[in-house]
């Protein structure tokens, strides 16, 4: 260090989205050849920070310097020209094209008249793959490759053009076997030894200590610490990721636990969920914690009949419920507040009233003919109770996120649902909206309903749940009482550590 400026300096980076501060003055410094681990819970701001670096988002404030000189990254193209390359979690490859074509897509070597110079393409691809130590046939179709090999192609694609200085990898090992991970790590080490600086986002603490050189922990859009890897250990990292002011107040009211409403027994889906069993009682909020990909949303969708499962049983009120679709679940009193309200919860062009009435067509109109005003009549008390700030005849796409979420909730309040499955109920909602949803959960449990709440916000889970199930790679890894759970215990379990 010292005489040469760092490869990358990000200073005081700030980014807000409507209602949320995603990044609040974050610093990140990369030296040449660094393997920099970026850690944090879901929503800590890691991906947002990297998207700003990659030119996908524009920062609101702050400064970015590359090799000491200030730069403006106003788009993906600019980031690429500066030597910044990103390998995203979801692959961006064309399965029907060969490895070579994928790597050089957008800059295929062409002869006169636009005909592809296949020989030049193959030569360049072979040279690149050899250089990266990858034993892949450049003519093979990407569609015929396994996940690990696709990952390699994605990396080769990111690195083509030679002058890559910074490589960002977003949870690159999430789909790989341990043998494949070894390969990937060897490649990462090789790139670093050539002077490429690597930012590596991960949830797996073991990886941090295997290949990391320095580490930055983020929490709630802030940078908690940056330190050489030798100066931390696992408990310290968990504490850094979790620690926060416990002053946040949740309006939780506890209700005496009533009879069992829902029981899940030995629910398994190969590769997704294994042997999930739990029960949910009237008056109870059961929280489900876990990292992205732990299987929480999949579980929620199966209980709500949105996806089907073959192994395992579901009991509602003590009797077996064989769900063949969402309609069956609704009949048994199960209502789903899906993870993504825009794509799964609402019909954006329909009015508030018609969205709320959508699941209740049969009840409103047994013979299919809707009496004049019957939908409005059904929706009125609901919108009043939820304080939806909109006129009943407004299309829901014009509403704010919080009000849209209330409309999705309203769909189930209007019926006789007693088992509410909330998947990230407060995501993208401002503070007031969140508190309103917490109060609603209290009212539901007071009425004898039960709530299954999936959330990536640990304070919310701990503040509102009576019990918390922690999922890790498709299993229930731990069950904690809401009153005794600490963020560190939940996070350790979510990371798969024994506790």
């Amino acid at each position: 260090m010292g005489d040469r400026p760092p490869v990358l300096e990000m200073r005081g980076i700030r980014k807000t989205f409507p209602g949320v501060v995603a990044l609040d003055g974050v610093d990140l410094t990369l030296e040449a050849g660094d393997i920099h681990m970026l850690l944090g819970e879901n929503g800590a701001g890691k991906s947002t920070l990297m998207k700003i670096l990659a030119g996908a988002y524009q920062k609101d404030a702050g400064e970015i310097r590359i090799n000491g000189s200030a730069v403006e990254i106003d788009g993906p193209r600019a980031a690429r020209d500066l030597g910044i390359r990103v390998v995203y979690q979801e692959f961006n490859l064309v399965p029907h094209l060969s490895i070579a074509e994928n790597i050089f897509l957008g800059e295929l070597p062409a002869r006169w008249g636009g005909f592809i110079d296949w020989r030049a393409l193959a030569d360049r691809a072979s040279a690149l793959l050899l250089d990266l130590g990858m034993t892949l046939d450049p003519r093979a179709l990407v569609g015929s490759l396994g996940l690990a090999q696709r990952q390699m192609v994605e990396i080769a694609k990111a690195l083509n053009g030679g002058d890559a200085k910074i490589l960002v990898m977003d949870e690159p090992t999430s789909a790989l076997t341990s043998h494949e991970v070894d390969h990937l790590f060897a490649l990462v080490e090789r790139l670093a030894s050539r002077g490429v600086s690597i930012v590596y986002i991960t949830h797996r603490l073991d990886e941090v200590f295997r290949i990391g050189r320095r580490i930055t922990v983020m929490r709630d859009g802030r940078q908690v610490t940056t330190t050489p890897i030798e100066q931390v250990d696992v408990p310290e990292l968990v504490r850094l990721m979790a620690n926060r002011d416990v002053s946040e107040h949740f309006p939780k009211t506890r209700v005496a636990r009533g009879p069992e409403l829902l029981r899940v027994e030995a629910l398994s889906v190969p590769g997704v969920l294994s042997d999930i069993s739990f029960s949910l009682h009237a008056g109870e909020v059961l929280g489900i914690a876990g990292l992205l990909g732990a299987g929480r949303t999949e579980l929620a969708r199966m209980i709500a009949g949105a996806d089907l499962f073959e192994d395992g049983w579901l009991f509602v009120d003590g009797t077996r419920a064989g769900l063949r679709g969402p309609a069956d679940a609704i009949k048994r009193g199960i209502g789903l507040l899906p993870e993504d309200r825009k794509t799964q919860g609402l019909v954006p062009g329909l009015t508030v009233v018609r969205n709320i009435a959508l699941p209740h067509g049969r009840r409103l109109a047994p013979f299919g003919v809707l009496a004049s005003g019957c939908e409005a009549e059904m929706a009125a008390p609901i919108t009043r109770e939820l304080r939806v700030k909109a006129t009943p005849t407004q299309p829901v796409r014009l509403l704010s996120g919080g009000n849209q979420q209330k409309v999705v909730l309203g769909k189930w309040l209007a019926g006789d649902s007693r088992i509410f499955i909330f998947d990230e109920p407060t995501r993208g909602i401002d503070v007031n909206g969140k508190v309103e949803i917490y109060h609603l959960m209290n009212r539901l449990t007071a009425r004898g309903a039960a709530v299954l709440m999936i959330s990536s916000e640990l304070p919310e889970l701990m503040g509102m749940s009576d019990r918390i199930l922690v999922m890790h790679r498709g299993r229930i890894h731990a069950e904690l009482a809401g009153s005794t759970a600490t963020e560190e215990r939940v996070l350790s379990a979510a990371l798969g550590l024994v506790n």
């Binding site: 709500a304 949105a306 679709g325 969402p326 309609a327 679940a329 609704i330 009949k331 789903l336 899906p338 794509t343 799964q344 919860g345 609402l346 019909v347 954006p348 062009g349 329909l350 018609r354 009435a357 959508l358 699941p359 067509g361 049969r362 409103l364 109109a365 299919g368 003919v369 809707l370 004049s372 769909k411």
Partner: protein, 309 residues
Amino acid sequence: MRSARQFGTLIGLVLLCAALWILTPHFLTVSNLVNVVEQTSINAIVAAGMTFVILSGGIDLSVGSIVALAGVVLGTALQGGQPLPLALTLALAAGTACGLVNGALISWGRLPPFIVTLGTMSIARGAALLFTEGRPVSGFDATFRAIATGRVGFVPAPVIAMAVVYAVAHLVLARTTFGRYVYAIGGNEEATRLSGVAVRFHKTMIYGVSGLMSASAAVLLTARLNSAQPIAGINYELDAIAATVIGGTSLMGGEGTLFGTLVGALIMGVLRNGLNLLGVSSFLQQIVIGAVIVVAVLLDTVLKRKHRM
């Protein structure tokens, strides 16, 4: 915003009529206007079914061929001496059945509507040709022909048929759960499914409605021509899609109205009639009509973009 868009289409129709009134004295006469509406009725009825389909986010290319198939079923039954009610029932049933098959393949077979109805378009046309050995079935009695030639006061029977179809279809869209689901499926199929709506069943029914509308149009066409022709209804799908789209229904589904489609069909009818009165060649007419479709949708897109900003 939806009503603003309808208003725009209506203004377009009024402006078009005003222009023709200035350009030719023959346009604004009662007999010509009645004639225009009568000419429009068949396309308008097919387009009503198309509107259901497009609102739900689909497309139906087979309507023209279903018109031909239902027509020859009707013609053959009548010539075979079947009573009129039975012949009508057979024709409507044939059209509805074609639509239901489309819908079932799209819903349960999970095939794209474009592909399925493209296939049915060819199959139904082929069936109509095979059934009649390629020859028209002509010459029916006056009772049947009255469906097209009859008048109530000065209003031709096809216009009344069209009015009844639109009134019923409007009530179905506005006042029944089925109508709600048409919009909901087109607006967000997954959210509708998660609301417990039997999406596949209702999608099947939507194509059934389109088939039924095509068969209804076939009855009017056969009566008007006094002949059931296996080559009838060619390009009807294009006219129906054009009327729907000019009327402001989004090809993405979920947004639009039947009233808009009716106005869209009238715009096409008035345009054809006016261009004929002005002596514009039929070749040039095609260019004008094509341009009108593109301009109408372009205006729509530009206005919506402005609204979003």
